[in-house]
Symmetry: C2
Subunit: 116 residues, 2 copies
């Protein structure tokens, strides 16, 4: 079977749940990472719940990034999946994952690593 690539899937908490209400700050972080790593965005959705969390996805030719936040529970579900079809992207998956967790000051991280 063809092995598309690395998929990192995490749940975590943050130091200050207020950051989980700001989808536009996350869009800036992800856009910068996508540009830095020369990935190809083909669409995105950032849906902000009023005075609450957000649900967001970035669709890439290489696959996708998704993040869903629940400030009510101080909780985030996040995942990054890039295929290695055109380039070897495993290190980029790890870099994006860790950069987002660092930006949000993540704590109590539960990480699942799938080599799909």
């Amino acid at each position: 079977m063809y092995k598309p690539g690395l998929h990192l899937i995490s749940e975590f908490k943050v130091v200050d749940p207020e950051v989980l209400k700001n989808s536009q700050a996350m869009k800036q972080v992800l856009d910068d990472l996508i540009q830095e790593h020369k990935l190809s965005k083909v669409g995105e959705v950032y849906h902000q719940f009023p005075d609450s969390g957000y649900t967001a996805m970035v669709c890439l030719t290489e696959s996708h990034i998704s993040i869903h936040t629940w400030p009510e529970f101080n909780q985030v579900t996040f995942d990054v999946f890039l295929s290695n079809f055109m380039n070897y992207n495993n290190e980029i998956v790890t870099n994006i994952h860790n950069s987002v967790l660092a930006f949000l000051n993540a704590t109590d991280v539960r990480l699942t690593q799938l080599n799909r």
Copy 2:
């Protein structure tokens, strides 16, 4: 830790790889399933590669669905994740997952089940 919900993640092959080139047929299937299960779509991306596969995501208030196809390798990566924040959705996750695999005539399924 708050446990958002069930995330099913699969890789599989299909009987006829031609179906992996038709993003619009998949959009119809997913739209029907979203309506049937009364989920709330807040955005979507269907990106068709010319005479090849597609990469697609549906963003839901409940979380997301993604599918990436590689007819070159007769391969699909697919995932469905719904939170139980407003309703208990675990059975819906399984129903959507299995309905899409049935529509595509999936074979050689590798399934990962995460209770996030």
